[in-house]
């Protein structure tokens, strides 16, 4: 797996999201400093609203799953698995993410690519 350095940790916003361009893909990166895993990365494209907006959603938890709510129509996408809680068949690409020596790294390819039928 190859990693993509998207810059230092100051690029992230605590308890919120930002977007990075990784290997021509728009990736939404969420930073929850007090969580054991502090960074999460999923595709920025909301397949329901059909726009690149997920990094601008509010993050939170539903039944103990960490989620982001799309700012367009409020569907929840799980930060860990990419699944959409309101439409089971939708799984967003999820990227590996880590912080090392103050820099943020995102995997250049998604972990699981479940295409929607």
């Amino acid at each position: 797996m190859s990693w993509h350095n998207i810059g230092t940790i100051d690029n992230l916003v605590a308890n919120s999201g930002v977007c990075a361009l990784v290997n021509n893909q728009q990736v939404a990166i969420f930073y929850i400093p007090q969580n054991p895993t502090a960074v999460f990365a999923i595709s920025n494209y909301d397949p329901i609203g059909k726009a690149n907006v997920l990094s601008r959603g509010i993050i939170g938890s539903i039944d103990n799953k960490l989620v982001v709510a799309s700012p367009l129509y409020k569907q929840h996408f799980c930060l860990e698995t990419g699944e959409c809680l309101e439409a089971e068949a939708i799984h967003l690409p999820v990227f590996n993410a880590k912080i090392e020596d103050g820099s943020v790294f995102i995997s250049s390819e998604p972990k699981v690519t479940t295409a929607v039928a």
């Binding site: 990075a20 361009l21 397949p47 059909k50 726009a51 959603g57 939170g60 989620v67």
Partner: protein
């Protein structure tokens, strides 16, 4: 309970899937295997047409492979069953695989009947039943100008709607003299035909197609038996459905004379180890082409296979639909076949509606009904019929429009046995039971009974029953903000104040659980803002705001934003107008005058927002808070300065008031208006705060709004002088901010205030609670600490950083694309985007593919 009996199901349509779910529920150990003929797992066929409105296959899916895995169900897609060996109890598929069974369930549904017309087997002659059919229809429509649906029944008209939405010149050809001959009578059919033709679909009744030949102006020509003809590019057959019963034939099961696998009340075929359910099954010589009876059979079969005793005893075939936007309903004996029955007809040629009810001989029971053009009485009529209830003395009032005192059957009038949801077989008693069991709102009743999650037709009735039940128990509706805080907004507000809590994290640690969500975060953000008036973009608050608040602009459907500068009272100088125009030109923004008397600029990209605002602020503009839950606009009429009738300076006042309350955060947005005289050109009585000039001062109106549920404002006080007016507004608004629930507008807040308007008057005018000084002091503090958020935002050194599209690249979002319309931009549609990308040949092919993969992901 039997353990691990091998149950094999053929067909994973709506009914087959429902069976799987029911079976797993009643027997956790059964070894269940599903052979699914289609490539897709079960999906919602009833809503197939919604794919033409932009729904995807994923939206229609009823389940997923993961879901089946979790339920421990084996499923094989694209597996067509060819043979059944009853003595060996083995099923063989087209590809030669073999599956053993103890019990076999046939849920093979039906297939569209294509009449034996010469030429019916050419390309572009299609049917409409599966997702794959849809793909073919779309592909064919893309190279066609016109389309004909053969068959004017329920499905035919659905299909006509579909091809009309694809932009084809649409025709329906029906063999019978009327449309929907199964459900409607002649008059109903004629009205439906007229209405559909008004919508641009041409209907040809009493036409028998004799052959399909090559056309002259179009791809095909349909020759009719009366020598006339019709040319078209696409043909869609929808001439009825036939049960998929060939497996029954192969296995030598008893079939009906005209097809269908015969079943008994236990859903068993002539071989007790083989059951049949759904559209392939024939019960009492009847086939059932609707989901509700199919679901019912699925429940019966699951019960049979797990030792239960449910029986299938037939089903009601009443239907209510919207076809091409025309409401149509058919109940019970629509054709008045019961001997000596009586008919009552109401026909309104002006509104275009037709209603007929069929009554028993004595006129005291309802046997059936036909409704075209208006189905608002459907639920009530259906309940009368299903529950065999006595009709009121003057049954005509059931179908006459607003005849006063219509005994509409609200939830409370129904007996407990009344079926509310026929898809999931939920009675009123079940709903009462769910509420007894702890469900205290509509959503939880839905999830616990499944009511209204099938065809959706019962949603309105369900709501009425639930509301009624809750109200009758005086249930205090749970007003917790969300799952993370077991408190109401007001309780949270008190905690914030009393404990001097200044951040979300603090409040969550002390009084909440989990991580919060998009409901509690903005609500608490608003509480913090209105209590402490901190800059809402302090780092601790950023994650609490909706994107609109975070970026101080409203997000549009494509991810771009709008820019709305404040234009207080709607007054603007020519110079400022020019600035707005120039900025819009420089950034290529779409301009529109809003309903709130100001100008909205659309199509700004995230990274352009600070630069645009810099230009506007330089020219003296301020943010218009079009994004916030805060004061929007104070509308004004031109008033005494110019208008010959005006008695006060409404514009001057509106500006003063707008400047006083701008930026104030509240539970919901609020709007105001000032009219210069009683003619009320500013529409002040439709605002949260409305002010109308009088000879002696001002009349104050409160708690009105337009929007989804318009409400006229109530007259609060008359002939006020300006200082008193401002004092009262301060108090009303502050009291609202302090006590309203999240996202509650002033109208709903006041209606829920015990004592209503009179109470509000006593608090605000008579100071009955002794809090007016505090309310005014709070307002004073907030009005004095006002600062334009956009000014602050662009002055902050990290503004450019915050509004970047990408943290690691200067690129822009390539999915925001525009086209020109009426000399301005508008967002490109998905199709236009694809086209723009394809024609931009400077993009290497590789990248295009990646982008599209992204779009699909």
């Amino acid at each position: 309970m039997q353990t691990s009996q091998k149950i094999l199901i053929i067909g994973n349509g709506m009914v087959g899937h429902h069976f799987v779910e029911q079976m797993r529920q009643s027997d956790a150990n059964a070894d269940i295997t599903v052979l699914c003929g289609e490539a897709n797992l079960a999906y919602d066929r009833v809503y197939l047409s919604s794919v033409f409105d932009g729904k995807t296959a994923a939206d229609l899916a009823l389940t997923t492979h993961d879901n089946y895995k979790q339920l421990n169900i084996n499923v094989h897609t694209s597996q067509w069953v060819e043979g059944i060996d009853r003595s060996a109890k083995i099923v063989t598929t087209l590809t030669g695989e073999q599956y053993p069974y103890d019990k076999l369930v046939l849920a093979t549904g039906s297939f569209p009947f294509v009449p034996p017309i010469k030429g019916n087997d050419q390309p572009h002659c299609l049917v409409y039943r599966t997702l794959e059919d849809l793909e073919q229809i779309k592909a064919s429509a893309a190279v066609s100008k016109s389309g004909v649906v053969i068959g004017g029944g329920l499905l035919g008209l659905e299909a006509a709607n579909a091809i009309k939405q694809l932009g084809l010149d649409t025709h329906v050809v029906e063999f019978a003299p009327q449309l929907m001959a199964v459900q409607l009578d002649g008059q109903g059919g004629t009205l439906l035909k007229n209405k559909i033709e008004e919508l641009g679909v041409t209907v040809h009744t009493s036409k028998a197609t004799s052959e399909i030949v090559k056309g002259e102006t179009s791809r095909f020509r349909l020759n009719f038996s009366d020598e006339s003809f019709l040319e078209t590019d696409l043909i869609l057959f929808s001439a009825g459905i036939r049960p998929y019963d060939q497996l029954g034939k192969i296995a030598d099961l008893e079939l009906g004379e005209r097809g269908g696998i015969i079943i008994n009340n236990q859903c068993q075929t002539s071989d007790p180890d083989i059951l049949a359910i759904g559209e392939c099954a024939l019960w009492d010589k009847k086939l059932f082409g609707l989901v509700a009876p199919g679901y019912n059979m699925a429940r019966v079969a699951a019960s049979q296979l797990s030792g239960g005793e449910l029986e299938f005893l037939g089903a009601d075939m009443s239907t209510k639909l919207k076809l091409l936007g025309v409401e149509v309903g058919s109940i019970g004996d629509a054709h008045a076949k019961t001997p000596d029955c009586k008919e009552l007809i109401y026909q309104d040629a002006i509104r275009g509606c037709y209603k007929k009810i069929i009554l028993s001989e004595k006129g005291d029971k309802l046997l059936g009904a036909v409704l075209v053009g208006d189905t608002s009485d459907y639920d009530t009529l259906l309940q009368y019929m299903l529950n065999d209830m006595d009709l009121p003395e003057n049954p005509e009032c059931l179908i006459l429009p607003d005849s006063g005192g219509v005994p509409s059957l609200s939830g409370s009038a129904l007996p407990d046995t009344a079926t509310i949801c026929s898809c999931h077989n939920v009675s009123k008693g079940d709903i009462v039971g769910a509420i007894d069991g702890g469900s205290c709102d509509l959503a939880s009743v839905k999830s616990c009974t499944k009511a209204a999650s099938g065809c959706g037709g019962c949603a309105a009735l369900l709501k009425s029953v639930v509301d009624n039940e809750l109200a009758s128990r005086g249930v205090e509706v749970n007003n917790h903000v969300c799952e993370h805080f077991a408190y109401s907004r007001q309780e949270l507000l008190h905690m914030v104040k009393v404990e001097s809590i200044k951040s979300f994290d603090d409040l969550l640690t002390k009084h909440g659980s989990g991580h919060g969500c998009e409901i509690c975060k903005p609500a608490i953000g608003s509480i913090l803002a209105s209590t402490w008036n901190d800059f809402i973009l302090e780092p601790a608050h950023v994650g609490l705001q909706d994107t609109n608040d975070t970026y101080l602009a409203n997000m549009q459907k494509d991810g771009s934003y709008s820019v709305v500068p404040r234009i207080a009272g709607g007054e603007i100088t020519p110079d400022k107008l020019i600035v707005i125009g120039q900025v819009a030109k420089d950034f290529n923004l779409y301009c529109k005058v809003t309903g709130g008397q100001r100008i909205d600029l659309f199509g700004a990209r995230l990274e352009e927002l600070p630069v645009i605002w810099e230009r506007l602020i330089e020219a003296g503009f301020e943010t218009g808070h079009a994004y916030g839950k805060s004061l929007r606009t104070v509308k004004s009429c031109v008033g005494s300065t110019w208008c010959r009738y005006g008695v006060q300076d409404s514009v001057g006042h509106a500006i003063e008031i707008e400047n006083r309350y701008k930026g104030l955060r509240a539970p919901h947005k609020f709007k105001m208006a000032v009219s210069g005289c009683t003619r009320e050109c500013a529409e002040a009585q439709s605002k949260d705060i409305g002010i109308i000039a009088t000879e002696n001062g001002w009349n104050l109106y409160v708690c009105g709004n337009g929007g989804m549920r318009p409400r006229h404002a109530d007259l609060f006080a008359t002939d006020l002088d300006t200082p008193t007016l401002i004092k009262y507004i301060d108090r009303v608004i502050m009291f609202y901010i302090k006590t309203a629930d999240k996202l509650q507008r002033t109208s709903v807040w006041m209606e829920n205030l015990e004592g209503g308007l009179d109470y509000l008057k006593s608090v605000v005018i008579d100071d009955s609670l002794g809090i007016c000084d505090e309310l005014e002091a709070q307002m004073e503090l907030i009005t004095q600490t006002y600062a334009c958020e956009w000014k602050k935002a662009i002055e902050s050194p990290d503004a450019a950083k915050r509004f970047r599209q990408f943290v690691n690249s200067p690129e822009t979002d390539d999915n925001i694309l525009f086209v020109q319309e009426r000399n301005q931009i508008r967002p490109a549609t998905e199709a236009e985007k694809r086209e723009q990308r394809n024609t931009q040949n400077r993009i290497p092919v590789m990248e295009v593919e990646e982008e599209q993969a992204d779009v699909l992901a």
